[in-house]
C-alpha cells in the first residue's frame, strides 16, 4: 500500500512539474515567435535606413528599428475627424490627417499644411487658400472639394450622424444657420471651391486665431469615398488618409498601430516607421512597462503616471522626466443665483483664505502653478502670452486676515452670522483630496462649516447644469489658442456658464472683442473682462495644470502644444 501511495505522489509530482515545464516550453515558443517577428522589423529597418541615408545628420545616429511603443489610457472612440471630441482621438488623428494648416511645434503658430499659401482680405473676413499637390493614401489628389465636403459633413443638419463638435465651424459665415436648419442651401455657407486647388473661406467675424483653428481635427478633410459607407471609420481597410501615417492594425480595447504613409508629401520629414499603441488604463502598469523598456514614453496627455509616483520618478529619472505647463485651469465655481453666494465678498473671502502652494506640494504633486486668474499661461494674445501681459497677482492674494474681515462684512450684508455650505466634486481620489484640504483650510482659517459631497460624473454634470449645487469643482482646457476660449464662457446664458453669472458689462466686452480684428483692442477688452470676472469672483482659481511625462533619452521629436496636445508625427528613435 505504501508503494502505491508513493506511486500516486510520483504521478502528482509529474503533473506539477509537467505544468511547470509546459510553462518553460511556452517561454521558448515566445522567444521564437519574437524572432519570427523580426524579419518584418528588419524589412522596416531597411526602409528606415533608406530614408536616413537621404538626410543623414552628423551627430544623431538613428536607430535601425524605428518602431515606437506608446501607451494610450483610453481607446480613441472614433477615427472619423468630424466625430472626434477627445484628446486620444486628437493624438491619433493628427498622425493620420492634415488640415489646411499645421501647428509649428516650437512657436505654436499656424504654418502651411495642405494649403501652401493663403491671402487674407483687408477686413480679415475672407481667406483664400492655395492647396499644394498632396495625395490621399489611395493616390487621389487632395482637392479643395475634399475640404468643402468634409465641412458640409460636419454642418449638415440632416447628416445620419450628427457631429457633436459642429460648433467649432460656427466661425464660417452662415455655418450656424445652416447647422440649425435656418439656411438650407450649403452654398450660402462661407466655403467656396474656386477650383481644385483654391478654396475661399468667408467668416462671420474677423477671427485672428482662425488659421490656428484650421489645424484642429474638426477641420480636417476626408476622402469623398466615405459618403456611401457609414461604417468607414470602424475598419482599418476603408480609411483613406492624407497625413503622415496610416492605420494598419486595430484590436478593440487592446492595441492599434500606425505605419508611415509613403505618399505623404513631406514623407522625408517622417522618420518613425511604425508606432504601436497599447491601450491600458492603469497608470501603475504603464509606469512599470516604461521602466521595463516595454514603452518608450509614459505619462500625459495620452497616458498616465500615478500621481503619488510623480515626485519619485522626477528624482529617479531626471533626464527622462519632463514637466510642461499646459493651458488648463482647475477651479471651484460658485452658484451665484443662491444665497449666500450671491454676495461677491463672501466668494472672494473664500478664495483668499486657501493656500495653494501646499495643495500642490502635498496633493497634486505635479508641479502645477498656483492660479489667481482664469486665463492660464500659454494662451497667446496680441503677440505674447496673455498672462505675461496681465499678471494674475493683481486680482487678489492669499490673505487670511483680510479674508476674515471680508467674510464678516459679507455675512453682515446678508444678515447671516455663520457660513455653512456644501462643496461638491465628482468621484475621484484626486478631487477628493483637494476638496478635503480646501474645506479644512476654510474651517481653520475662517471658521466656516463645509460639507463635502461626492457625486458620480454624470450626476455631477447634470447637477451643475441645473444649478443644483453651492460650490463645485471644475476645470477648463483650451479649444484654441486665444483668451476667448476661456472668457466667452461666462457671458449671460452661455452654454458652459453653469454658475448663473450674468453681468451686462462683461457681456459687452466679450461682444466687442468678438467683432474686432484689432489685436490691441481685443487684448484691452480681454484684460477688462478678466478683471471683472475676478473682482466678482464667480470662480475661485486653484491651479494651472502641468503635463508630466517620462521620455526615454533615445526618443526624440515628440512635441506638446500650448494646450498639451501631443504630436508624435515627427518622433524618432536614436540608436540605444
Amino acid at each position: 500500500m505504501k508503494k502505491s501511495k508513493s506511486l500516486l505522489l510520483m504521478i502528482a509530482l509529474v503533473l506539477v512539474i509537467g505544468t511547470v515545464l509546459a510553462g518553460c516550453g511556452g517561454n521558448n515558443n515566445n522567444a521564437n515567435s519574437g524572432n519570427n517577428a523580426s524579419p518584418t522589423n528588419a524589412a522596416a529597418t531597411d526602409n528606415a535606413g533608406n530614408t536616413n541615408t537621404g538626410n543623414a545628420t552628423g551627430e544623431e545616429k538613428l536607430a535601425a528599428d524605428q518602431t515606437l511603443k506608446i501607451n494610450l489610457s483610453s481607446e480613441p472612440p472614433t477615427f472619423d475627424p468630424q466625430q472626434a471630441q477627445d484628446s486620444t482621438s486628437n493624438a491619433i488623428l493628427k498622425l493620420m490627417y492634415e488640415g489646411l494648416t499645421r501647428q509649428n511645434a516650437e512657436t505654436g503658430q499656424a504654418e502651411p499644411g495642405m494649403a501652401e499659401s493663403w491671402d487674407v482680405s483687408a477686413d480679415g473676413l475672407v481667406y483664400t487658400f492655395h492647396l499644394r499637390d498632396a495625395k490621399w493614401s489611395n493616390g487621389d489628389a487632395v482637392t479643395a472639394n475634399d475640404f468643402a465636403f468634409a465641412w458640409q459633413r460636419v454642418l449638415d443638419p440632416n447628416a445620419e450622424q450628427a457631429a457633436p463638435y459642429a460648433y467649432q465651424l460656427y466661425y464660417l459665415k452662415n455655418a450656424e444657420a445652416y447647422n440649425t436648419g435656418e439656411v438650407t442651401d450649403f452654398s450660402q455657407v462661407g466655403v467656396k471651391v474656386i477650383d481644385d486647388k483654391t478654396l475661399e473661406v468667408t467668416l462671420t467675424n474677423p477671427t485672428p486665431y482662425f488659421l490656428g483653428l484650421l489645424s484642429f481635427y474638426t477641420y480636417y478633410p476626408v476622402h469623398s469615398s466615405v459618403k456611401d459607407n457609414a461604417k468607414w471609420a470602424t475598419s482599418v481597410d476603408s480609411q483613406i488618409v492624407n497625413g503622415p501615417f496610416t492605420l494598419t492594425e486595430w484590436t478593440t480595447g487592446q492595441s492599434l498601430s500606425v505605419t508611415k504613409n509613403p505618399g505623404y508629401y513631406a514623407a522625408d520629414e517622417i522618420k518613425a516607421q511604425t508606432i504601436n499603441f497599447s491601450i491600458v488604463n492603469s497608470g501603475a502598469t504603464e509606469l512599470l512597462s516604461y521602466k521595463n523598456g516595454e514603452l518608450d514614453r509614459a505619462g500625459g496627455p495620452i497616458g498616465e503616471i500615478p500621481t503619488e509616483q510623480l515626485p519619485i520618478v522626477e528624482k529617479e529619472f531626471p533626464n527622462e522626466f519632463t514637466r510642461k505647463g499646459i493651458a488648463s485651469v482647475y477651479y471651484y465655481q460658485f452658484n451665484v443665483t443662491e444665497k449666500p453666494f450671491t454676495n461677491a465678498k463672501i466668494r472672494k473671502a473664500l478664495a483668499m483664505a486657501i493656500e495653494r502652494q501646499p495643495i500642490i506640494d502635498n496633493i497634486t504633486l505635479g508641479g502645477q502653478l498656483p492660479a489667481f486668474g482664469f486665463v492660464p499661461p500659454g494662451i497667446q494674445s496680441n503677440g505674447d502670452e496673455f498672462r505675461n501681459q496681465v499678471a494674475d497677482s493683481q486680482y487678489f492674494g492669499e490673505d487670511i486676515e483680510g479674508a476674515k474681515a471680508l467674510l464678516a462684512e459679507g455675512l453682515k450684508e446678508e444678515g447671516l452670522d455663520k457660513l455653512s455650505f456644501t462643496l461638491s466634486y465628482n468621484t475621484s481620489e484626486g478631487h477628493q483630496k483637494i476638496a478635503v484640504a480646501v474645506a479644512d483650510m476654510w474651517k481653520k482659517n475662517l471658521g466656516v462649516e463645509v460639507k463635502l459631497e461626492n457625486k458620480e460624473w454624470g450626476v455631477f454634470l447634470e447637477d451643475k447644469t441645473n444649478l443644483n449645487y453651492q460650490v463645485a469643482r471644475a476645470g477648463w482646457s483650451a479649444d484654441y489658442n486665444d483668451p476667448m476660449t476661456y472668457l466667452d464662457m461666462w457671458v449671460t446664458g452661455g452654454g458652459n456658464n453653469d454658475t448663473g453669472y450674468s453681468n451686462p458689462e462683461y457681456d459687452q466686452l466679450i461682444k466687442d472683442a468678438k467683432s474686432s480684428a484689432d489685436n490691441a483692442v481685443r487684448q484691452e477688452k480681454f484684460t477688462a473682462a478678466e478683471k471683472i470676472l475676478m473682482d466678482d469672483m464667480v470662480i475661485m482659481p486653484i491651479y494651472y495644470y502641468t503635463n508630466n511625462s517620462l521620455t526615454k533619452e533615445y526618443l526624440k521629436g515628440v512635441t506638446l502644444d500650448f494646450s498639451g496636445a501631443i504630436d508624435l508625427s515627427r518622433a524618432y528613435l536614436l540608436e540605444h
Binding site: L9, A12, T78, A162, Y167, G253, K291
Partner: protein
Amino acid sequence: MVRYILNRFVHMIVSLFVLISATFFLMKAIPGDPFTSEKKIPEQILQRLYAQYNLDKPVFEQYVLYLKNIVKGDLGISMKMLNQEVTDIISQTFSSSLKLGVVAIIVAIIIGIVLGMLAALYHRRLIDNVAMVLAVLGIAVPSFVVASLLQYLLAYHWKIFPVMGFKGPMNYFLPVMALTASPIAVIARLTRSSMLEVLHADYIKTAKAKGLGWFSILSRHVLRNGVMPVITYVGPMTANIITGSVVIEQIFGIGGIGKQFVQAINTRDYPIIMGITIFYGVILMVARFLTDVAYVAVDPRIKLAGRKEG
C-alpha cells in the same frame, strides 16, 4: 431529459426578460446620458444626437423598441465607439477574456485537485499543512494584490515575463496566476475535505477488502465521489472567470470584456451596457445548466427530470 431542457429553456427566456427590463429601467434612471460632458454640446446638436439614438422618445417607447430589436437579434450600435456594432465589440473583447479564462480554468482545476488530493492523502503531514496554508493565503489575499505583486516581482524585478499586453504565450502567465490563486485554493480545500470523508466511507473499505489496487480505488471511487463539491463550485467559477475580471484586465492591459463593461457604464454607453448584461446573463445560465448536466454524468443517483427547476 428533453423535457428538462425545454423547461430550462423557458426558464432562461423568462429570466432574461426580467434581467433586460430591470437593467433597462435602472440604467435610464441613472442621471446623465452618453452626451453629457464638461464642455457642453449646443442644444440643437444635442437634440439631433438624441433623435439619432431614439433618446428623444419616452422611455417606455424606447424599451419596446429595444425589445423588438433584441428579438431580431440586433443589439444595436455603440453610442460612444462610433458606428461599431455591439455584437462586434462583445465578440472581440470576449475572445480575449475567453482565451485567458479557459487557460485559467484548466490550470485552476488541475492544480487545485492535485493539491487537494495530496493534502487528503497526506492528512496532517507536511504536504497537507503547506497546501492548506497556501490555500488560506490564496483565498485571503485579493487578486489585485496578487496581480501587482506578481507584476512587480516576476516582470519588473526578475524580468521573466512582460508587464502587460496580450500578444504571445508569455503574456498569459501572470494574469493566469493572479486569476487562479483564489480558485485553486477553494478547489484544493473542497477536494481535500470531501476526499477525507470519502476515504473513510464503508465502500472504500469494501473496495480495499476486495483487494482492489490503490490506484483504481482512487480513480474509480475516491476521486469520482470526492470531486462532486468541486463541480458545484466549478460552474459558477467558470462563468465568473470567462466574463472577465476588470481588475486583472486593467492591471495586465488585456482588452477583455470586463474592462469594456466598466468603461461602458462610466460613459453611459447604453447599447453596450445592455448588450454585455444580456451576454453575461446567458453565460451564467448556460454555466448553471452545464453544471446540472455534469452532476448527472458523475453521479447516476441524480436525475435531472426529478429536480425542481431553479
